[in-house]
């Protein structure tokens, strides 16, 4: 067919429509996306370091902990990277009108406080091999013992994010559930890395296995080069054109 001049807007759209991770992570409201980031294999030393019985809600001074206690059983966690002056950060970040989740608060106040590792070790080095410190907002473990659960709930973000939480299944035995309303369960297997949207849909977790479920949660700048490339590769795998 003979080339015909087409309107500039359409021409630009056709020629310049590259993948935009802001559109993918914010606008689409995808419930999850499996990433191919390689953090290596988590060994027993890592697992022992991440394991904790520290109550996550107490650590973050959640309001109404007693009133809502029936909704959570043994939701524990350990901070690995975040604001150095954590109490000052909590005071400022808790003053808002609504409860926003911990990842969102750490993103929002990233320039206001000095952030760093609370301890450097093989875990911090392994995460830094993929994501540099200046692109990290929060790194923590979530530990859910057998029979632990978190009721269906929805989290809220200050910054309108969707897909945002990098979720590494360090120890994930059969019987664990991470459900997203209307979408079934996230198909997580031990060692997987997922980008999860905990802001658009009600979701819930339960450990129905006989072992602790241990997850690394990372809030990071998604434009960080390795993350960005992985998001685009994953998106293309899920939604790209399939060639014969």
């Amino acid at each position: 067919m003979k080339d015909k001049k087409i309107p500039k807007l359409l021409d630009d759209a056709i020629k310049r429509n590259t993948h935009d991770i802001d559109v993918i992570t914010k606008n689409l409201k995808l419930p999850w996306l499996k990433l191919d980031l390689d953090f290596g294999v988590w060994d027993e030393t890592d697992i022992a370091y991440l394991r904790t019985s520290e109550d996550w809600r107490t650590k973050w001074k959640f309001s109404d902990v007693d009133k809502n206690s029936y909704q959570v059983r043994n939701w524990n966690g350990k901070l690995l990277f975040g604001p150095e002056k954590f109490d000052d950060f909590l005071e400022l970040s808790s003053a808002g009108e609504h409860d926003h989740d911990e990842d969102s608060k750490c993103r929002f106040y990233r320039e206001k406080f000095k952030y760093g590792w609370y301890e450097t070790n093989t875990i911090s080095r392994r995460i830094n091999s993929v994501i540099p410190d200046n692109d990290l907002n929060l790194v923590n473990s979530y530990v859910l013992p057998p029979d632990g659960y978190v009721f269906p709930h929805r989290d809220y973000a200050i910054d309108g994010m969707g897909l945002a939480k990098i979720y590494i299944a360090v120890k994930w035995s059969d019987g664990n559930v991470f459900g997203q309303y209307g979408c079934g369960d996230i198909p997580i297997k031990q060692g997987d890395v997922f980008l999860i949207n905990n802001y658009s849909l009600p979701h819930w977790v339960r450990n129905g296995s006989d072992e602790d479920r241990i997850v690394l949660d990372i809030s990071a700048n998604l434009h960080s080069s390795k993350i960005k490339e992985s998001i685009i590769r994953s998106f293309k795998r899920c939604f790209g054109q399939v060639y014969g």
Partner: protein, 138 residues
Amino acid sequence: MKIDIELRSDYRNTKPICKIYSKKTTYQVVVDKEQLFSRDFELDEKDTLNIEFTNKDGVDDNVVYLDRILVDDIDIQHFIYEGEFFPEYAPDWLKEQKELPPSSYKPCTELRLKGTWKLQIKTPIWKMIMEKWIQDER
């Protein structure tokens, strides 16, 4: 479907009486200082849980408190504040008012006037709760 309601009341001599009903099921309960109401209701897919305070005694100043509601064994803690109370003002008292009082109160978990507290419910309850979260645009 089972509905459990934890009620409390204040009174000196006149225990509050409430009619608790859906479209197809009605019960009456005399509310003690602390009262656990637990009954089976026939519920339509879209229904209304009504709690009607029928014997408000202005002299005794009896009051009913709605502390907790479970429908189908699910605590609807987050949605009890969606309930709206429609008071029935005494006609003579109403005529004397220069400014009309509100026709309803929401949120309201203390029934201090004769009237009916209404909560719209949809079954299955777990889905109703999920759908409300999805629609929350805060």
